[in-house]
Amino acid sequence: MDTHFFKLAALLYLIGTLAYLGYVLFLKGALSKSATMVVFVGFASHTLAFLLRYAEAGHTPVTNLYESLSFFAWMVIGILLVVQLKYPVKVLGAFLSPIALILMLFALALPKEIVPLAPVLKSFWHPFHVFFAFLGNAIFALAFCCGVMYLLQEHQLKSKKMGAITQRLPSLMVLDDLNYQSLKFGFPLLTLGIITGAIWAEYAWGRYWGWDPKETWSLITWFLYAASLHQRLTVGWRGRKAAIMAIAGFLAVLFTFLGVNLVLPGLHSYANW
């Protein structure tokens, strides 16, 4: 049952993404508005799928790659909807919704059966860990998009082209501010994600930290964002440098989340399909 709603959500995200891209091409405000509506309905359907699966499985349904990808996409869309309420950045949808869509399509290709929870995953800390980690990741996805947009816009302004791209992208100030806000919220969440993970590891494997590849890479990611935040607060790293850091940080996030599972063997490999 839940997979029907999941597929419906994926379809609506696809329509929403196309409408957002259409907005970027034709600059018709109605397209961007309807895209947000469609994506919102998709989000509701996705939430329903999540709740149904929770009821059926009896535990937080973020235990294998399919579920994780779906949860990640759900968070990304949630962030998109929240940011659009506060910031007048209409093109954001054209950047964030494709990310969610790719995650959804990836998930669609994977087996979707509910499997009995592996004993190591049974923990009070599990829902907290996945919630913090994925919310942080979704916020970093936002920062990544802002970083890409910033570099594009800065390049336009520096090379003195005032064309279609300049017109469509938000101002540097707004992009940099969004990037900073993302860092301010994302970094503590990532930290909490790592801490709850460590506590959980203590229960599951009897040690807080074991330099398993996932742990190592999440630490690398943490250091990247920590450096970015530190530099911003001390010497005022902003704009271009902050944008590059946001992009690098998100690539590290992706590698921690996916690359480690696919490439490096380790304890987190239960998430393999």
Partner: protein
């Protein structure tokens, strides 16, 4: 009745001549009355801006009216017609309608797509309405022109891009800072160029103006004008640290602001972005400054290049706008051709005759046992009723037509009996909100005419 335009604009006349023929706003009503006193026309309005002087009129006799208007311009401005006749253009009928629609849509402007012209036409129309020199035809024509202008504005991208150097600068600033609110500008130099640029930024929302100049007194004078602050020339770096936007326009032969200096300032500013606009010739700011991170440098050539590109874009959009105008001209002309008396009477009779026939047939089919004689009587009776009813209105129309006052009646009849060829947009449920007040004053005007 025919729409006519007589006038001159920035393409046909030099500014000196346009100034000679311009009308002052306070004496405009008087001029409008003088024009309306001409027997060859019935309605008129005068549009006088720095780029054009035009008289729009509804004429009884178009050739005579064009001649009279030229003569009026000559007498009113005490200028021999020979001196400016070559600069004058005149349009009548369809051409005139098209011209007015194009002017209102800013397709005939010096800078295509500039928005001021619509407001200027609205003002000119308001004055004519208050002076009671505009009537049914100009009311419809102008109302339609406003509608066309709105369509052009919303359906094409003609007014989207900035096309003056200072508006491009403001646009750029907004792409860096999002808005000008709570931003500080530093003016280097106290000349006219700086003053103009500053005016544009201040009206765009800039909060604080700093001025520095080699002669400190002049900096103080300019700063006072914007309730700003003067900075001694030697302490320019202090200003650079505080400002978000720097405008430089001095006649200094060498660079006043150099790469190393800005690199240091940006560091002291903790990388807060700074936007340099160099409008001096020769330049005041070393071009390499633009390579520094979080510093943006545009000189006058860069701004001009953007301006030209935007103008090219507008010209592309203008093609679409012309198609809209053509379409609207056809609609309008259909309406005002319908104000001819003969076709109106014909279609009025036709409508009555159709009703009579339909009702008669109904009655006859209910009474199949009527004799031929009785049927003929019924025919005669119904025809007589119609002829009696129509007799007075038709007589009045013909009389009014001879006195050239028939258009109001004709329009009323078109609407009352829903004859084909009624006014375009007359049943528009959502008239342009911008012209509502204009419409109101027109209605009161029409009442007082009756």
């Amino acid at each position: 009745m025919e729409v006519i335009v007589v006038g001159l604009n920035h393409r046909t006349a030099p500014i000196a001549l346009r100034e000679c023929l311009a009308f002052q706003e306070d004496t405009l009503p008087e001029a409008l009355h003088q024009v309306n006193a001409l027997p060859s026309l019935r309605e008129n309005m005068i549009l006088s801006t720095c780029n054009r002087v035009e008289i729009y009129a509804a004429a009884r006799d178009r050739e005579k009216a064009v001649f009279d208007l030229k003569d009026f311009l000559s007498q009113y401005h005490h200028l021999s017609l020979k001196e400016f006749e070559k600069s004058l253009y005149s349009y009548t009928g369809e051409e005139a309608v098209k011209h007015i629609f194009r002017v209102a849509s800013s397709l005939d402007s010096m800078v295509v797509g500039e928005p001021q012209i619509l407001g200027q036409i609205k003002d000119a129309y308001d004055i004519a309405t208050q002076a009671k020199t505009s009537g049914l035809i100009l009311h419809r024509l102008l109302h339609r022109a406003f509608h066309v202008a709105k369509r052009v504005r919303t359906e094409t991208k003609i007014s989207n891009s900035a096309v003056s150097v200072s508006s491009v600068a403001v646009d750029l600033a907004k792409k860096i800072f999002e808005s000008l609110e709570r931003k500080t500008v530093l003016l280097i130099g106290a000349g006219e160029m700086c003053e103009l640029a500053a005016q544009h930024l201040v009206s765009g929302g800039i909060e604080k103006v700093l001025v520095t100049n080699r002669t400190y007194q002049r900096a103080v004078a300019l700063a006072d004008q914007f309730k700003g602050e003067a900075i001694p020339f030697e302490e320019m770096n202090m200003g650079l640290k505080r400002a978000d936007i720097v405008i430089s326009a001095t006649d200094s032969p060498q660079y006043l602001i150099r790469h190393d200096q800005v690199a240091k300032v940006v560091k002291d500013r903790r990388q807060k972005p700074i936007f340099f606009i160099d409008i001096a010739d020769p330049r005041d700011i070393e071009p390499k400054v633009g390579e520094i991170e979080n510093a943006y440098l545009y000189n006058i050539d860069d701004l001009q290049k953007v301006t030209f590109e935007n103008i090219k874009d507008r010209e592309k959009e203008a093609v679409k706008a012309e198609a809209i105008v053509e379409d609207e001209v056809v609609q309008f002309v259909t309406w005002y051709r319908s104000l001819d008396i003969t076709p109106t009477i014909v279609s009025l009779r036709k409508k009555f005759e159709e009703i009579r026939k339909r009702e008669l047939e109904k009655t006859l089919s209910l009474h199949p046992d009527l004799s031929d004689k009785e049927k003929k009587s019924l025919e005669a009776l119904t025809s007589a009723i119609i002829n009696k009813i129509l007799h007075d209105p038709v007589t009045l129309l013909k009389k009014a037509n001879e006195e050239a006052t028939a258009d109001l009646y004709l329009d009323a009849i078109q609407n009352l009996f829903q004859l084909p060829g009624g006014a375009p947009g007359s049943s528009d449920p959502n008239p342009d909100p911008g012209v509502e007040e204009v419409e109101e004053s027109v209605e009161s005007n029409e009442l007082s005419r009756n």
